[in-house]
Subunit: 316 residues, 2 copies
């Protein structure tokens, strides 16, 4: 990450984001904007969080953006889970900060233990293979009226740092942070995994299972990259970007599945499970089926030796 | 599996192996030898298990082999864990039965829930990726004196059958089996995963996590097979089995890493991480380094356009 660029730094005031601010600043990143969103979930505690972040902004002489949202209201209105409503609210807030400061890069404080949890969570809910958070990813957000459409770039500089290392860093530098009491409540799936399941698994296995999970994920990631590299050499697509079936048929079955998965991902089809991909794959050899329904109202079709996605029709 | 061949059927007398005997026999496999090993772990209960298996052998009119071993004595003598001592005792017993009946095929009653446990166990203890039990694998066992050296072939016909389906099958056919009380004790790692961790994870995730784990494993397996298939087409090796560097250099980097990983795995180098593989990979382009230390005392070397492993030196 170039040091002379500006970065939005997402900061809750908790351990991880306070450590990130401190570490990043001392590593020579000085063009930072502190972006703090009050989620409307924790009453007075939230005001104290915002107060700490404002103090940090003054101490580091950095611009400060404070946002407010009402997650419970959004959950009700959009019928979203708390986790989803909170995440979408943050994204909207980042987009707003991005417009104000003409800066599309957002630093997030996810660390290696968050990553291990994410990988385990994705595995157990049936995502394809061992998938986690990337160091960097693009996030397309509907722009504010009149603003140019520009994706946000989410960056996770702490992704290889363990929680224990962050705690040592905070202690060593005697840094103030706020404890988010909701992190200690084993209510959400993520919190129950972190507070109940992972400690039990560490105990049963008599080891730090995050190390095992992270290592397995790295190896799996490298394999996926190898497969992508191979697929990119195959010229699977026609000039319209549709999969050319005779080419696809020449690949081993595992690569056919990977090719379909990658294609659907690129087309932004949501909620891809192995089930969905297997049903799409059946179009390769089943002469009686030419169309498969996909999540999000998409369809996967076979026509004139091509396989392709047709987007959802706007509802009337 | 051809029906006219002979098979040794490993049978404890518990749910899974009794169901397997019944199902396999009714599927037309009649040349079976029932092989039951008393592990010396459960006193009188063991005699009752052997009694049930003998009755089954009589009912199905099949040959019956009864073996005895003293697992606690073996644990003490060879300093093995209970699980390892029990497994090795079984393998020795199978080898003996194999000689007596001139039959190298052994049917094991591992089912899909055993598989999900194995995959989770391997992931959490740091095996590479998502690895489980194969439907079929070869097992090299030191032969009895005078007997020819012949690998055993272990076969797992129930590997895609869920535990719940086996229970329904037993109920439906009103089959007698023995409950192994030690399966209900949360002492061994495997039993604690089965009895404590997996139910907790099912509860937290509000789903049957075995389905997710098995699906992820299938995809990961297919990807590994695809990579192996592609690497095998590349003629990467010289007649001595060393990696030929000019060939390796022609591959995309991700595939170079996979090739090195597969090579090291075949050479039985332990504790392979991405870090180890990346250090080995650096020999491709770094003219100043010609040798990398590997876990287990192995080395990875570059010499005369070849890359190869040199084994650890025996200690004196």
């Amino acid at each position: 990450m170039p040091r002379d660029q500006r970065y939005l730094l997402a900061i809750s005031g908790g351990r991880d984001s306070v450590a990130m601010l401190h570490a990043i600043w001392h590593a020579g990143y000085h063009k930072l904007v502190l972006c703090h969103l009050n989620h409307g979930l924790r009453g007075d505690e939230s005001d104290d969080d915002a107060h700490l972040v404002r103090q940090l902004a003054e101490a580091f002489d950095l611009p400060f953006e404070l946002g407010h949202t009402d997650v419970p209201a959004r959950m009700k209105e959009k019928k979203e889970s708390m986790e989803l409503a909170a995440r979408r609210s943050r994204h909207t807030f980042f987009a707003k900060c991005s417009n104000i400061h003409n800066c599309s890069r957002v630093l997030l404080a996810h660390h290696a233990d968050d990553q291990a949890e994410t990988i385990l969570h994705n595995l157990l809910r049936g995502s394809a293979g061992l998938s986690g958070m990337p160091f960097s990813n693009q996030l397309q957000i509907p722009p504010a009226p009149g603003a140019p459409e520009q994706p946000l770039q989410l960056l996770r500089p702490l992704l290889h740092i363990r929680r224990s290392e962050i705690n040592l860093y905070l202690d060593h530098h005697k840094l103030n942070y706020r404890e988010d009491s909701s992190n200690r409540e084993a209510i959400t799936t993520r919190n129950r995994l972190r507070l109940k399941a992972i400690p039990m698994l560490n105990d049963i296995m008599d080891r730090d299972i995050a190390v095992s999970i992270l290592r397995a994920h790295e190896i799996s990631n490298a394999q996926q990259q190898a497969i992508h590299a191979i697929l990119n050499e195959q010229n699977l697509f026609d000039p319209q970007g549709r999969i050319f079936l005779p080419k696809l048929r020449q690949l081993p079955e595992a690569l056919q599945l990977s090719a379909i998965h990658q294609y659907l991902k690129n087309k932004k089809v949501p909620d891809l499970s192995q089930d969905v991909i297997a049903r799409c794959h059946s179009l390769i050899n089943d002469p009686n089926t030419a169309k498969v329904n996909l999540p999000g109202g998409y369809h996967f079709q076979r026509k004139e030796k091509r396989l392709f996605v047709t987007p959802s029709q706007p509802s009337h």
